[in-house]
Symmetry: C2
């Protein structure tokens, strides 16, 4: 009933605990004979090292923390999956906590993870977060932290990102290329770096093509769990405000699908009346009618890379090596579908 310990193996074999421990870890200073003997009885008694004791001794938990703004979110789900898969390969566990896009909660969650002594932290920042002391505090304690997707440029840690500005530029340029002259933008919240960058990419594309930038064509949405509704509302509002708009670049696919739904309901033809490009390549974007042109954002890959970088830093730290923060930029691509078309 009681779990088997090194001591019990030692007793049944009439050798010391030390030797048993060393035998199981293939230390060179224990003879092959006893090594084999120990292995066998350990297997026979179904020995499992007590991870609590190992943790205490080695000061490692083989566990990392993951803080995410929102678990119920398709893109983040794929990131989580990438992280978990990669962590498992390296024998790490992942503890997931949510920030609910709240700065206070984010701080609390970091605190919890630190008191739990996770070996490292992966984080995508909350929309609210504009102060980063809680992050730098972690770094000051020599605990590696890697940001992904929603990052802070000012913090000097490793990051896994896409070039949001470039991607948004690509999306907007595509609208222009297919003939749009007056292009609106449904942007995300004001603080997060990626919604800023997407906005800037949109703006730059306009200016590079000698199209005037009109701030009244920029609509804000939270991109919360109400995204879909926001898309509908913004679409309705846009129709009221500007009858001349012929294209929209939208911050996320879900908002875009909300907008499409609203346009469909009102008999606005896509892409004949209005062309739309979304962002993230959520699988539903190929299911909606019309199918949605969008930017492909590699979530799984992002999770995978984020863990890989964290793992590198964990190893470096263990060997007392210097770690240099690294910025990993993943490629995005434009996926052309039916919501954008060159009209004759």
């Amino acid at each position: 009933m009681k779990p088997v310990t090194l001591k019990e193996i030692a007793e049944t074999l009439n050798i010391s605990v030390t030797t048993v421990s060393k035998a199981l870890k293939d230390y060179p200073d224990v003879s092959k004979k006893t090594r084999k003997l120990v292995r066998e009885t350990a297997a026979q008694l179904n020995y499992r090292p007590n991870s609590f004791a190992v943790n205490l001794r080695t000061k490692e938990s083989k566990t990392i923390g993951l803080i995410i703004p929102e678990v119920v979110h398709h893109f983040f789900s794929t990131v989580i999956k990438g992280i978990i898969a990669q962590a498992e390969k390296k024998g790490y566990f992942v503890i997931i906590l949510q920030s609910n896009e709240s700065y206070e909660l984010e701080k609390k969650q970091i605190d919890l993870l630190m008191s739990k002594h996770v070996d490292g932290i992966l984080i995508s920042l909350a929309n609210e977060t504009s102060d980063f002391k809680h992050i730098t505090d972690v770094m000051d304690q020599d605990k590696p932290i890697v940001m992904f997707d929603k990052i802070a440029k000012i913090v000097n840690c490793s990051k896994v990102i896409i070039d949001d500005r470039k991607a948004a530029y690509m999306a907007t340029q595509h609208l222009i290329d297919t003939g749009c002259k007056r292009i609106a933008h449904f942007r995300g919240p004001l603080l997060p770096q990626n919604s800023i960058d997407r906005f800037l990419g949109y703006k730059k594309a306009l200016l590079d093509n000698d199209l005037p930038y009109d701030s009244s064509l920029v609509y804000i949405c939270d991109c919360s769990d109400k995204s879909f509704e926001e898309g509908k509302n913004n679409a309705a509002q846009l129709l009221k405000d500007h009858s001349d708009v012929d294209g929209i670049f939208i911050n996320t696919d879900m908002v875009a699908i909300g907008a499409i739904t609203e346009f469909n309901k009102r008999g606005i033809k896509i892409p004949e009346d209005i062309s739309i490009v979304g962002f993230s390549n959520w699988f539903m974007s190929s299911a909606i009618t019309p199918t949605l042109s969008t930017i492909d954002q590699p979530g799984y890959q992002m999770g995978k890379m984020a863990f890989k970088q964290l793992y590198k830093e964990l190893k470096a730290l263990k060997q007392q090596k210097e770690v240099h923060p690294k910025i990993i930029e993943l490629e995005t691509s434009l996926v052309k579908r039916d919501s954008t078309k060159t009209l004759i």
Copy 2:
């Protein structure tokens, strides 16, 4: 730089480690004066108990394991969210592992969690799983385990479920009530209890209404990440096989949406030609055209309840009390939308 320990607090105060420890836990045998003193210096030195040592001493990790077939899944996301939220309230962490619907992987993940000494396990079984020794092994080691959604009736542990049979009956009855005479079923895989139950509910509703059960009207789909495609394929196949079908009860919303997409493409009118009812009330079901009638399945609630039950058992076990497995059944409801209508 080094984290402060009880010992250091004791030294700065010239008292024993014992007293410090007891003071921090409000033991009655330390005077109020020293208790306050200890608290203050602990706060001042920013003392954090070393969780590794606490774990080792108390044999608790305040961590539970969660095994889920697939993280990238809207329903499971909401369950995860419910679990994490509730766990946090009680000071528990959640380690998430995926089974990818594989029995072998599920076994391995349980093994990992056991070796990590999680305090308890929450699990939704993989489709492949038909042997349950790995589950009963956990129970034999007095580690509480609670199943949710995809459960095994034969295993005597606590479960949080819905009445899939009743819900499916409701869905099918609704199709019949709106005038359908020949109703197909896109069912899930053969092994999981819930897809069996949904099939049985469908069948019973037919028979209770004196409609013949025709096994050729039952189509199987994996409900994997290819769900959407499967919906399209099954829909296309159905049109080839049976031109007289006027209603379908579909195992999940995502498959249903795939089917709707296919029907839309082919000019089949919903609900005029074919009525459709899905399952789970995924938010996209109110976004698709036409909106999808479905069964509301309370994911968040299910996660919350699953953790609550596990927590109860953890507490009972700590107090050496007997634990009685409990089956918690959550209510479902029919959500009527545009994909089903009584036609005049």
